[in-house]
Structures are given as structure tokens and as C-alpha cells.
């Protein structure tokens, strides 16, 4: 069964690569080719269409229709929409289209569009629109370089968008757009901030022609809200599974995503894309060792891969693997120095060495190469925080969330920065956004709690709620326990305070981490137990305190003296009511 499926996938992908390449959608073609190679090895040659070496010569042969017919039967049920597409792709391209394609490949977009101005075919139409769009993008980029402000902020827009929108809308309302035309229209609508319409159009595109990964990615960029996803009307297709898995990762539903990738792995056992995405999911789950192993495996099979390596460098950064990070940085530079990912890796390397200026320099370079490169914005924000340059940090983080509002790191960074600026209302809001994205991440809840505690807000109840929440999500650093105890102590709720102090004590004993928090806990518990009358326990706490430095030691000694006196006193007056001693 699996081999039948993989044979079918092989046919689909081979054809799709040709379609995509013909239309200048190189990124999508590359992705499809990666998946094609990711399929299991062919067991027998007669089961599927001829292997790759023949397919080139097949292009030049004129007698293709018969063979193509039997291949379409293998594709199975489905895409009536691509029927006429196939017809057009069968025909020899006319000369003008060939010329335009040559211009397009040489990045002479305006020339390509001009050459195609009179052509009528769907393929020519798409190539013309796409070339026009890219020409506008190119112009926009140039304008940004010419007129940009300090951080590359500029309000340059693609000047072709309005015209393209009008032209595509006219055809769309007549129902005359094919799958690629709809993709183009979706891209334009997205740029024009008409997101709901863009979603509808892109759905139509991927339903009519599912093999265009670029269209799926565009759709993914629009799924900023988990509520949008179920409203999309998507036909069942294995490409949709790739999409859903990728969206899951984007929305931080990492375990769901992992499950999907596991299922896809059965179909595409040799796909590097799946491997890289799985590694990313593990990284998001803060399962660094697993992720690191997967990335190493990826690099073994594809040593010159750059995509996703910035995440690998993040892992190495978190694990503080200087040597490995340095090695990765050097290797990436040799592979391709001017790739945003490479610059990011180098930025991480310098950041780990605490050379923040240099790190910023490289993140900036990454952003020059790709202004929409999300992680570089976020990482640059972190560097600016380190450098105490809060306005720049805020700007960088803002840019990150503008590009992708699902980047919890940027929201968290914004919160931190505003906390530094003593603007707790702002900080609180950004932390809240972060918790919405990662509701099970204790760090965010702790940060929120801290905001509620500030003098300006002074909302202790809310703070307690946040810390409790952090606690129930396995707060590794133990901040929540201590904070909770302190808060309850301040609010005069000694019982609750004692409960949390005890818990914190246990945790710290387990970790063998004995800092100031430990002292605080002991001192409080000593006092508490004394007041409660369990003097022996109180004595025990005080004894432990005697091992510590000066102020604590003195306090402990005073407490012990008090306990002794009470002990003597109670020996004399056994019926004394102890309640009055509680503070």
C-alpha cells in the first residue's frame, strides 16, 4: 500500500516541480524536490513512472500524451481544477513566453512583464503578474535602502500592488483565475492587509493545486490566530498534512505538530524537511538534547544545509556549547556567507562571547538580507536589552511581532523591556500576549506576577494567581514558590506562606541550592513554628540557620533565645494561650 502511495506521490511531485519551475516559483519547486527525494527508494522500476534520468529526455520527446495519460490515472481521485492546467503545460510554450522566462530567470522582471503584455495564456498571465510583482518588490527594496531610517523602517510600498489588485480582482470576480492566479491574488491581498479575503483566495488556490508550497506558506502566515484554522475550507491531501503540521509548530502546539510529522515520516522517510521541523518542535518544547541530536543528524546527511541552522545555533547558545557554535559559524560562513541564517549564527556566537555590539552588527546584516527574518529581529532585541538600549530593543521586538504575532519570545522581550522602563501596564500586556501563546510556560506567568507586584499596580491577589499558575506548570527556577510565600507573608496569611516556604525548602534541598531564599524560608519557618507553638521544629530551623552568614545568624540566635525563654515559660505556665503571640 505504502509503495503504491509513494509511487503516486512521486508522479505528482515530479509533475509539480515542472509546473512550479515553469512559473518561476523556485522556492516551491525546491521544496517539492526535497520531498520527492524524501520518498522511500523505488523498489521496482515498473511500479512507477521512469526514474529521473529519463524524465529529462522525455521533455524533448513529442509523443508524450499517451504516457501522461497513464500517469494521471495513478494520481487517483482529485483535482479537476488542474485539468486545464495540465493541458496548457502539455503544449510547447510559445516563443514570447520562452523569451519572457529567460528574462525572468535573469531577474529582468520588468522586461519579462513587458514581453508578455500581449500574451493570453494562463501561464503567461501568471508569469506576467508575478514578474510585475517582483519588479515592484525589487523597487521597494531599493527605495528602503535609499530612504530608510535608522532601523530600516520605511513606509515604502510595492508600487505595483494597486494595479495588480485591480487586474486580479476583475478576473477573480469572473471566476477566471487558475490556481496560480489565485496564489498571486492571495499574495497581493495579504500585502494590502486584506487578510480575510487573502485566506479565502489562497484556500481556493491550494484546493485547486495543492503542490505549491509557497501558497501554503502564505496561508500559514495568515493563520495568526488558532481560531482561523478551523474556518479554512481545505480539501484532504497529503500536502495539507504538511501544512497543518507546520502551522501547529508556528502556533506553539508542538506535540500536535510532532504527531503529524511522525505520520508524514512514514510516507517520506528520507525527507530532510520533516527532520528539521521535528528538531524545531523539540527545540520549542525546550527539549534541547533531542533537538541537538536531530540537527546533527540533519547536518550529516546534508552538510551544506543552511535553512534551520539558526535554530541549531540557538540550541548551542542555550547549552553554552562554545566550540560547537564556533564550528557551526565557521562552516556556515564557508558555505554561504551572505545568508541571513549564517549572519544569525555568527550573531549568536558573538552574543555567547558577550560581544554584544558585534552580535548586533551581524543581526543587522541578517536583516539587510531579509527584512522579514523574524528570529534576527528578536535576537537583536535581546542584544539591545543586554546593551541597555531600551528604545532600540522595543523597536526590534515590535518589528518581530509585526512580522509574526506568534513569536512569544518577542512579546516576552517587549514585556521585559517595558518592565525595565517601569511601565508595568505595558509590560503586563506583552507578558499576557506571551502567555496566550505559551500558556504552559511558567516563565511568562512569573513575569506577569512580578508586574502585578510592582508598586504602581500593587495587585497582590492577581500576582498570587499568576504564581500559582506558574507553579502548576512546573516552575523550574522556583521563583514562583518563593514569591508566593513572600506575598502571603506580606499579606499576613501565615499559614499559606508557611506552606509555600516549606515546599520551596524541599525543592531547594533537592537541588542543593542554598541561597538567600533558603535563609528567608528558614527564618520565616522558624518564626512561624515558634508562634504556632511547635517549638522543637522551630529550633530545628534555627539550628540550620546558624550555618549561614551574619545577619541571618544573629536573627537565628535571637530567635533561639526567645524559644528558650518561651520553653521555660511554658514549663511554668502550661495553660498559656499561644494565639496572642501570632504577629
Amino acid at each position: 500500500m505504502a509503495t503504491v502511495w509513494s509511487a503516486a506521490h512521486r508522479v505528482e511531485l515530479r509533475r509539480a516541480i515542472r509546473h512550479l519551475r515553469d512559473r518561476g516559483l523556485y522556492a516551491a519547486a525546491k521544496w517539492a524536490a526535497e520531498q520527492l527525494v524524501g520518498l522511500p527508494e523505488e523498489t521496482s522500476r515498473n511500479a512507477g513512472p521512469p526514474p529521473a534520468p529519463y524524465s529529462d529526455s522525455e521533455k524533448t520527446k513529442l509523443k508524450r500524451p499517451s504516457r501522461r495519460k497513464d500517469s494521471t490515472t495513478q494520481v487517483g481521485p482529485g483535482y479537476a481544477g488542474s485539468g486545464n492546467l495540465r493541458e496548457e503545460d502539455e503544449e510547447e510554450d510559445d516563443d514570447v513566453l520562452l523569451l519572457a522566462k529567460a528574462f525572468f530567470d535573469m531577474r529582468e522582471y520588468r522586461r519579462a512583464a513587458h514581453a508578455l503584455r500581449g500574451s493570453t495564456g494562463k501561464k503567461a498571465f501568471f508569469l506576467r503578474c508575478y514578474a510585475t510583482y517582483l519588479a515592484g518588490e525589487k523597487r521597494k527594496e531599493e527605495e528602503i535602502i535609499e530612504l530608510a531610517g535608522p532601523l530600516g523602517r520605511s513606509d515604502a510600498v510595492n508600487p505595483e500592488l494597486v494595479g495588480l489588485e485591480q487586474e486580479l480582482f476583475a478576473l477573480y470576480s469572473k471566476g477566471a483565475l487558475d490556481a496560480f492566479g489565485s496564489y498571486m491574488y492571495g499574495v497581493v491581498l495579504h500585502e494590502r492587509e486584506r487578510k480575510a479575503d487573502a485566506c479565502t483566495v489562497l484556500c481556493a488556490s491550494v484546493n485547486a493545486y495543492p503542490w505549491n508550497w509557497s501558497a501554503w506558506l502564505e496561508l500559514q502566515a495568515l493563520c495568526t490566530d488558532p481560531d482561523i484554522l478551523p474556518t479554512l475550507n481545505l480539501n484532504d491531501h497529503w500536502m495539507r498534512d504538511f501544512f497543518l503540521a507546520s502551522v501547529d509548530l508556528d502556533l506553539q502546539r508542538n506535540s500536535d505538530g510532532l504527531a503529524r510529522y511522525r505520520a508524514l515520516y512514514a510516507l517520506f522517510p528520507r525527507s530532510d524537511h520533516i527532520l528539521a521541523q521535528t528538531a524545531t518542535a523539540h527545540y520549542n518544547l525546550r527539549d534541547f538534547d533531542e533537538a541537538e541530536g536531530l540537527f546533527e543528524e540533519l547536518l550529516r546527511s546534508d552538510p551544506y544545509r543552511i535553512e534551520g541552522m539558526d535554530i541549531y545555533s540557538n540550541i548551542l547558545y542555550v547549552k553554552e556549547c562554545f566550540a560547537a557554535l564556533s564550528h557551526l559559524a565557521h562552516k556556515s560562513v564557508l558555505t554561504d556567507k551572505y545568508r541571513p541564517e549564517t549572519c544569525c549564527i555568527i550573531g549568536n556566537y558573538y552574543s555567547l562571547k558577550a560581544q554584544h555590539e558585534k552580535a548586533v552588527l551581524y543581526f543587522k546584516r541578517a536583516l539587510r538580507l531579509n527584512r522579514k527574518y523574524l528570529s534576527a529581529w528578536t535576537l537583536m532585541g535581546h542584544e539591545y536589552v543586554e546593551m541597555k538600549n531600551t528604545p532600540a530593543a522595543i523597536d526590534a521586538y515590535r518589528r518581530a511581532v509585526d512580522i509574526n504575532p506568534r513569536d512569544y519570545r518577542a512579546w516576552y522581550g517587549l514585556g521585559q523591556t517595558y518592565e525595565i522602563l517601569a511601565m508595568p501596564y505595558y509590560a503586563l500586556y506583552y507578558y499576557r500576549r506571551a502567555t496566550q501563546l505559551r500558556p504552559h510556560d511558567a516563565r511568562m506567568w512569573c513575569a506577569m506576577g512580578q508586574c502585578y507586584e510592582t508598586e504602581q499596580l500593587n495587585m497582590h491577589d492577581a500576582a498570587i494567581r499568576c504564581y500559582r499558575r506558574a507553579l502548576s506548570n512546573s516552575d523550574r527556577e522556583g521563583i514562583a514558590l518563593h514569591k508566593l510565600a513572600k506575598l502571603h507573608e506580606n499579606l499576613g496569611q501565615a499559614d499559606q506562606a508557611a506552606f509555600y516556604y516549606r515546599k520551596n525548602l524541599e525543592r531547594m534541598e533537592a537541588d542543593q541550592n542554598e541561597g538567600q531564599d533558603f535563609v528567608d524560608a528558614l527564618l520565616f519557618l522558624g518564626n512561624y513554628c515558634k508562634n504556632k507553638g511547635s517549638l522543637e521544629e522551630a529550633e530545628k530551623f534555627c539550628d540550620r540557620l546558624l550555618d549561614y552568614g551574619d545577619p541571618a545568624k544573629e536573627d537565628a540566635k535571637a530567635l533561639l533565645r526567645e524559644i528558650r525563654s518561651v520553653q521555660q515559660h511554658t514549663a511554668n505556665l502550661p495553660s498559656m494561650d499561644l494565639e496572642q503571640y501570632t504577629p
Binding site: 494590502r192 500586556y429 499576557r432 491577589d461
Partner: protein, 554 residues
Amino acid sequence: MREGEVEKLRAVVRDCLGKHLYSSAIFFADKLATLAGNATQDLYMQAQALYLGKQYRRALHLLRRHHLVSADLRFRYLAAKCLEEVKEWDECLAMLGDGEVDEEGNVQMTDDQDTEFLDRDVEEREINIGAAICLLRGRAFEALENRARALRWFKAALKADPYCYEAFEHLVDNHMLTSDEEASLLYSLKFDPEDHWLSLLYSCRAKKYGQLAAIESKFVELEREPDESQLEDDSVGCSLKDNNDVVACRADLLYHHGEFQRCYDTTKALLEKDPYHLTCMPLHIGAALELGRKNELFLRAHNLVQEYPNKAIAWFAVGCYYYCIRQFDHARRYFCKATTLEGSFAPAWLGFGNAYAAQDESDQAMAAYRTAARLFAGCHLPALCIGMEYLRTNNLNLAEQFLMQAKSICSTDPVVYNELGVMAFRNKDYEAAARWLRKALSLAPPPLTEAWEPTVVNLAHTLRKLKSYVEAISMYEKALALYPKGASTYAALGFTHHLQGSTGKAIDFYHKALGLKSDDTFTAEMLTTALTEECTRLSSAPDSQFFSLGVGLP
């Protein structure tokens, strides 16, 4: 001398005139007149040759010396033409004699000599000399700045002969008549049945303030091939499809309806065919200005100045270029130059005013607009501009007066309704504002373009003031679809959400607004307020909300 030789000499003179060899023509005509004993016919030919050879005084003298001026209407006309050329307007009028004309341009026939010509049986179509005389009177009165009488005579010329195109051109291009007056004048013209095409073309050339559908059907008829339908007399085609004037006319229509891109495409194609089509040029330049094609403007202006340094249009184009690159000082200077070259060139006056207005020089702007309003009574734009300027300087009563005047001249321009809406908004009459603005949007050509984004935003503001928040929000969203970079639109959208109590969304939109324009203090303040409110609300909210599990991301 023999009769045959005289005939030959006559032929030579005629041929010289035909070949524009005026000096030769004058020489031979003079000999001819002497040889043939000063026959009236030959003297006329000599005068004609002198006129064409630009020897106006001599021609006049010739006519006077032979007492020909009173003999024949043709001589009198020629003499008047000579006086026109030497700019002796009073003399010219005196030469033409006293004619009376009523408001509608009906001539009281006092000259019985006219009949001679009217009755003459002509083989070929000629322009009625009466019409030519009326036209000349009109020109003279115009030069004497008696516009009312000039207008009457132009009308009379056109009525005397619909083929007298110059009169029509004068009336229409100089916006002398209002739309209704134009319609009634055209209606009163007596076209021969076979001249149906001319009547159609005239009505298309007239003001574009009418119903779009009616004009469109006229165009279709003008452009259709005749053999397509022979059913009815009044819908035969005129097969003028690719005629430059018809194309220019269509471009004019597109321009008036704000479809600048299509207008630009049309005029560009036309100017490639006929680079010196001057009626089309203002449209082309206007559309290029609206679209911000500064490069095109630059080249076009350069070429025009080189080729027509004495035409207003050339300097108008230069002014438009400077206006486009926002150098209003220069723009003003060149618009001014254009108006001094040709006082009756309406676009230059408006550009002059606009350039002043762009520099906040209200008084000068207003002066320019007022001149335009006086000169071009049939055009609503000066009144509109005056109204807008008063609106800008917050003089609402006067603004209303002028805007209403603009509306009465042209009841189909959406911009007028937009301004009326803004005025009502300023007067805090939100109901009326909403009504005007809706009317403006209904008149704007679908699909809406970025140019109408302000109107949509205005309507949204009005709806917000009327507390219909849901509709206001949908309007703001519509505006953002037209122009996604509107920081103030985002701020207003956030504010509306804020008013509605959905602080979460408000915060999000305030952020967007500040992301596009970070120095907006109002939005920054509102954001702080919203964040504080949100914080207070959530801190006492039940768990499900506090932990925001039920709340989706905006």
C-alpha cells in the same frame, strides 16, 4: 490685354495662394487688378492675398479706397478680420455694423444683405458667412472683456451654422456655459439629418456632468460601424471609432469620473498617435499629476516648452511638474506664466490657486480661484476650490455657500459631496454629514480606489460620532483595504473599539497605529488608558478570562 491672359493670371494668383506663395500672389493680384480694370472680384482676391501675406493695413486700405467695404458682406467681413488682426476691436465692431442679439443668441435680422447669402444655392457645404461674422463679433467682445455679449454672439454663431466649430470650441473649452445651458443650446441647433454624427460629437464634447450611461450610449453610437444596425435612424453608427477627437473626448469623461489610470492610458496612446493633440494634453498632464508620474511630466513639459513656448499649456505642464514634486514656489511661477499667456486657460488658474493653497497662502489662492470662477462660470471647480479653502480656514458659512454653488453647477461630482460632508461634520451635524458622504461614495466610480479612502474614513468618523460603532468599524476596515498604511485610520479604529468597550482589540489597533506613526500623542495616551483599563478589568476577572484561555488572539 486679352481675356484669356487675364484668366490665366487669375489662375496663377489662385495657385500662388494655394501654394502659400503670398508675395507672388500679392504681386500678380495687383497686376491682375490693374489689367482687369479693378473688377470687384479681382480686388477681393488682392485683398485676400494681402491678408494672407499679413499685410493687414494694406488690405484694409485697398478695400476702403475702392469703397468696397459697404458693397458686400464678404468685403466687410474681410475688413473686420484685418481689424481683428491689428487688434482694433472697436473699429472691428463698427465695421461689422450694429447687430442685436438676445440672451439666447438669436439675431435680430436687420441686415437684408444677409438674405443674399442665405438664399444662395451652394453646391458645396460652406460655412455661413453670417456665422463667421457672429463669431468675429464674439471674439471682439471677448477681447473688450464684455463677456456677456461675447457669449451671446458665440451662441448666435453656432445657431447660424452648427458647422461653426470654433464658436462651439470657444463656448465649451472656456467653460462659458453651465451644463444645462449647453444642453439647451445644443438642443436648439438645427442639424441636418445627415449631420447626426456632429450633434452626437458636440453633445459628447459638452460638459461631463450628466448621467454616465447616457454619455456612454452616445459614445457607443459614435464608434459603431454603420452597417451593424440599419434598423432605426437614430441609432446608426458613425464609425468614428479611432478618431482622435472621440478618443480625447472619452479620456475627458474618464478624467471627470476620477478614473485617472484609464484616462492616462487612453491619452498616452492617443499622444503616441498624435503628439501635438492639444485638447488632449491638459487631460494627459492632469492625469499624470494625479498618478504622480513625475518623470512623464518632466519630459512632456520639456518637449512642450520647446515646441510651443507661447502656449499656456506648455508652461502649465511645467507648473504641474513642480507641483508634482512639491516645489510649490516654482509651480506657482509657471502657472502664473501660463495664465498671463492665455487668460482663458482654466487649468492654469486652478493650478495657480492650488499651489498657493498648498503653501497655506489662503488669500492669494482665493484670488486665483475667484478669477477662475469669474472666467469659467460653467465650471464647478473654482467654486469647489473656494469652498474647500473656506473650509480649511474654518469659515463654515461661506464654505457652505460656495459648496452649494458648486453642487448646483455640477450635481454629480463626488468630491463636492465629500466636502459638504466634511462641512456638516464640522458643524456637528452628523446626520447630514453621513448623508452627504454616502452620496459621495455612491457617485464615486466603482470599484473604489485609494483616492476615495479619505471619504470612507470621513464617513467612518461620522458614523462613530453617531454612535453606530459596528458600521463605523466596517467602514474603517474598508478604508484600510483601500490604503493599508493609514496610521490615523488604525488609531480611529482602535478608538472605536475602545468606545465599544473591547479594550483588547483597541490596544492591538493602537499598537498598529503607533507602529506606523510613533509620535502620535493622542494614540499613545489612549493606549496607556486602554492598557490600564485592561489591566484592572482582567485582574478581577474570573479564572478563565484571567488566564485568557477563552480569549483568542486579536
